[in-house]
Symmetry: C3
Subunit: 211 residues, 3 copies
């Protein structure tokens, strides 16, 4: 069981690292920049969660396997980026799997550290989407997760299922499975059907002064 | 008294969340992105302060009311953004109020956690401006607070008054009031008179290599 | 000895603060923005390391000298930016010195806090490059360290020497000197010879969907 979770977790790390590395390849970063983006995309969500719940040093800095898997994904993209681009569909499925695993694991860890149910669900979502946000901030772009798409909502639903199951004292394995499945299926369906969240109506007034 | 502080604090949170949400509406984010920006703009300053002083998990993740107020502000902007744009002046006043409250509260919390007076004043300022910085970084823009305007200085003055009063052992309520008023009045006057900080003189040399 | 380390550390802080302030001057920030960039560029690497290893509040917030040196560098750039641009070579040397010192000190602090050797070397590198990353993120640019150049690798080598020496139980002063020298010489040689890391080959396929 524990080995299975670890393998799934490393698969998710690998998928997220691929997304970071490919973004770096497209922006013509050098090999170092690509490896940094791999590691940042794979681990920032978990690192942010661990800092916020007070679990320093973060898990991603305590287990060398996350680093190793991230670097392997980065090197793969550096040398065979056109191959990875052709494997778009399996990579996307791996990415959805990673999202589901990270959301579930993030929510569970937040509960263990005593956060309230609502915040645990949010931290689960943050664990899932944080890597992509860090990747995009490092590339000086508006995070795609804020822009479009059903990505974060799927993570939030998965995390909420875990939190709900915990409140109802359901067995942890069952709720983790249910949450992960909910997130994964929602995300895959959203990709297949092109689901989008609504945008705000265009405003025609002159811009409101920021600050 | 405690209730009054809470109400003021939630007013500030609301104002900051509005600024985040309006920025998201203008960039055509989806509803999820707008809610994330609301929450980030309202709470990042306090979260950064809490992480820096070692108070994890941050207060914003322990009290659901900050989340609820942020989401309410985000939904308001999503559905009635043109209304909010028309209410520019009251929103600005609310924002200045939020700045004053956050700067004062941030400085006091840093003092309680044993930081030195200078650093407590800086952390008070950070509490006030951090939300706007996070909002702008997420939108891939140079933070407006770095660019122009008397915003951060007002927060710093308010925080410094609190710290000074603490060093002179003045009663805490009096110094908090004085600090908050100083920040609020300075900010409102700066808006009304168009005060700006000086810019560096344009350099005509070729750019200095960064790194 | 301890005084020497402090002086070198403050020299590094000064050099990093100069790089932040000059970047701010070039983007026409106001005086406040320039001072923020000075402090951020000088201390973000160390602050990130301290948060990650659980050493809050970070050292940069506990010793007023880092703040004072950063502000002095910022004011210098604000008033005499053309002078600093003309002193490009000494400033670069100072910057390489700062990189070496920060990488060595960062790796040693991470070891003291019980991180594994690989992670300690990474955190040493992060201490060296974090300031530049924060400066560029605040300016909404892709961090130059991800883009080109032998900067991060020099920091990593210096940190790795420290960690290796620690594992072999060599005296700490000797390994610190060796690590710092390795980093400094590598960086200066890379500048003089124009060493670059390899870029990924341009891909001609249509872009891989991110997320």
């Amino acid at each position: 069981m524990r080995t299975l979770v670890l393998i799934l977790d490393l698969c998710g790390t690998f998928a997220f690292a691929l997304s970071g590395a490919m973004a770096g390849v497209r922006r013509r970063l050098d090999i170092f920049g690509i490896l940094v983006l791999s590691f940042a995309a794979a681990t920032s969500g978990g690192i942010a969660r661990d800092l916020l719940i007070g679990a320093a040093p973060p898990a991603a800095l305590q287990d060398w396997r996350y680093l190793a898997v991230s670097l392997a994904a980065g090197l793969l993209c550096f040398f065979w980026s056109s191959l990875i681009e052709r494997l778009r569909n399996p990579v996307r499925m791996l990415d959805s799997l990673g999202l589901a695993l990270f959301a579930v694991a993030g929510a569970e860890k937040a509960l263990v550290f005593g956060l309230s149910p609502v915040m645990a669900a949010l931290l689960g979502m943050l664990t899932g989407i944080g890597g992509g946000v860090a990747r995009d901030v490092l590339l000086a772009e508006i995070p795609t997760v804020l822009r479009s798409d059903f990505y974060a909502v799927a993570a939030l639903v998965g995390a909420a299922v875990v939190v709900g199951g915990n409140m109802l004292h359901f067995p942890i394995v069952a709720t983790a499975l249910a949450g992960g499945l909910a997130c994964f299926c929602l995300r895959m369906t959203a990709i297949r059907r092109g689901w989008q969240l609504p945008l705000a109506r265009e405003s025609r007034e002159h811009p409101f002064s920021e600050k």
